[in-house]
């Protein structure tokens, strides 16, 4: 049976697909790839359904030994890949032989790389998804981050792969320091005029206590009109910018709790979650306002292009629904 072996786990490598949907009403986070777009690109390069399970590597990538031959690809940022010590490009598929070693070196910027294997990682489907949710030890490879010696089986590889590389128009430019675009949230009116100016014109640093649950942002305190930071505990979505009492925003990411009691100041546009997912602690970001219509138009355009890559039939594999 086809498989891979983790020889070194890297900093934090987990099995992820597009997430576990339908259980948020029970308090179960969606989890899934932080940068879902990059996972979809990587899957399209090896002929997988876009939502097949791959490895999400963080900052320091894993060393992966191939036990059998096949195709692989990686997309995202934060590291450079080497196959048997020869550099291989991201955003291009490559064939591997049994015994080959894929390893990664840390890059200057970026944070997460998505490694896809033809056939996908064959781990059990738990509650409709193969994603790892670390806090409750659910899904993925035994509910945990990958460790040295883990052997992960691969699924049946597709017969052919329609594309070899991602066209330039779909390549995300992570190096560009464009602002992250945000849509005003349901409690935005609580901000004072000065608070709104702080949010939209001053930079925020991604704090050291940032992880798959969310980023703590540090910068100019965001002030409110004479109002409370708290709301009645309510549902929250990925990309929500909460504002707790200290005036420093929290950006909710893939493993975020399903409900929260801090005001929802704004929400990151879906199309910019891919860049948000590539931020690392210490990075500086700015925000700019975007309308819902504009954000949805951009998201739809990118997804049309993604769908065209492979002319995929509607994808019905577990965890393959697009993140909403």
């Amino acid at each position: 049976m086809a498989s891979i072996v983790i020889e070194k786990p890297g900093f934090l490598s987990t099995v992820q697909d597009l997430g576990r949907f339908g259980f948020q009403r029970y308090g179960m986070p969606v989890a899934g790839a932080m940068d879902a777009f990059s996972l979809q690109l990587a899957n399209s390069l090896v002929g997988n359904p876009h939502g097949a399970a791959g490895i999400e590597a963080t900052l320091l990538g894993p060393d992966i030994r191939f036990i059998s031959g096949g195709m692989a690809a990686f997309c995202g940022s934060g590291m450079r890949g080497f196959l048997n010590n020869k550099h291989v490009d991201a955003y291009k598929s490559f064939s591997v032989s049994a015994g080959d070693l894929l390893r990664f070196e840390m890059d200057r910027c970026g944070c997460r790389m998505y490694i896809a294997f033809a056939g996908g990682l064959d781990v059990p489907v738990v509650m409709g998804s193969k994603s790892t949710y670390l806090r409750s030890g659910t899904g993925g490879f035994h509910g945990r981050a990958l460790k040295e010696g883990d052997e992960i089986p691969l699924g049946q590889a597709p017969e052919k792969c329609p594309i070899k590389e991602i066209p330039a128009s779909l390549l995300p430019d992570y190096a560009k320091k464009d602002p992250i675009r945000i849509i005003p949230g349901p409690e935005i009116r609580r901000l004072s005029k000065e608070g709104l100016i702080s949010l939209l014109t001053t930079p925020y640093r991604v704090g050291d206590q940032s992880d798959r649950m969310g980023y703590r942002l540090e910068g100019e305190k965001i002030n409110l009109n004479n109002e409370s930071h708290d709301i009645i505990s309510s549902g929250v979505c990925t990309g929500t910018l909460q504002l707790p009492g200290n005036g420093q925003p929290i950006m909710l990411m893939a493993d975020h709790q399903t409900t929260g009691g801090y005001m929802r100041m704004a929400v990151v546009a879906s199309v910019d979650l891919t860049r948000a997912a590539q931020l690392r602690a210490g990075d500086s970001i700015c925000f700019a306002e975007i309308s819902i219509n504009k954000a949805q138009t951009l998201f739809r355009a990118r997804n049309r292009e993604l769908a065209c890559l492979t002319n995929n039939k509607p994808d019905t594999s577990p965890g393959s629904r697009p993140p909403s």
Binding site: F21, R25, G27, G239, S270, P322
Partner: protein, 230 residues
Amino acid sequence: MFGYFPCGDATLIVKAGRDISPATNQLVRKLLYCLDERPLPGVSEVIPSYNELLVCYDPLQTDCQQLKNQIQLIEPDLDMVELPLPARVVIYVCYGGELGPDLSEVARYNGLREEEVVDLHTSVDYPVYMLGFTPGFCYLGGMDKRLSTPRKTTPRIKIPAGSVGIAEAQTGIYPIESPGGWQLIGRTPAELFNPKRENVFLVNPGDIIRFKSITLDVFFEMKRQVQSQL
């Protein structure tokens, strides 16, 4: 009746009221029930809370305006919707001792004896307003005000799964091991969250919970049974 608020480009908030009350929450659950019975196209999931329903949608298939129009069509009929009778879930708890190290503190703070705390905690129905925080964590209403106790000044780093606690006017059960500052008065052998079980979650929004006191021996016997069922 409802307020509609977009929340990003893939979520619509439907607000049923501005308070924590059985009436507002029932309205939320009535709409949830309707949307479960007849799902709207493009809606990936719906998350109820005390006074809101968060409607998550796929912007490739629908948008806020369309969803709002569709939900507004349901609104007038909501009064007639009869919710299924809430399930009554009994949660067995071994109070005090090692499994409930803060029972004495809760008693002392409220000027009660430990047995009185247990009596008050086991003598009322707790409606499940919503779930959140961790998988399977229930936000319960109904606790007797005489049990209100502030959180611990220093939160614990690890609270075992099944711990039953009090924080201010709230009581709750920790479904998975997590950090937290609640006053722990006991522990249940029941698993509120178990992905290996057919019903992954023991409790649904809208259910009614009742606590029953058990001895340490019964706790371990029930714990053994729960684990052997897997």
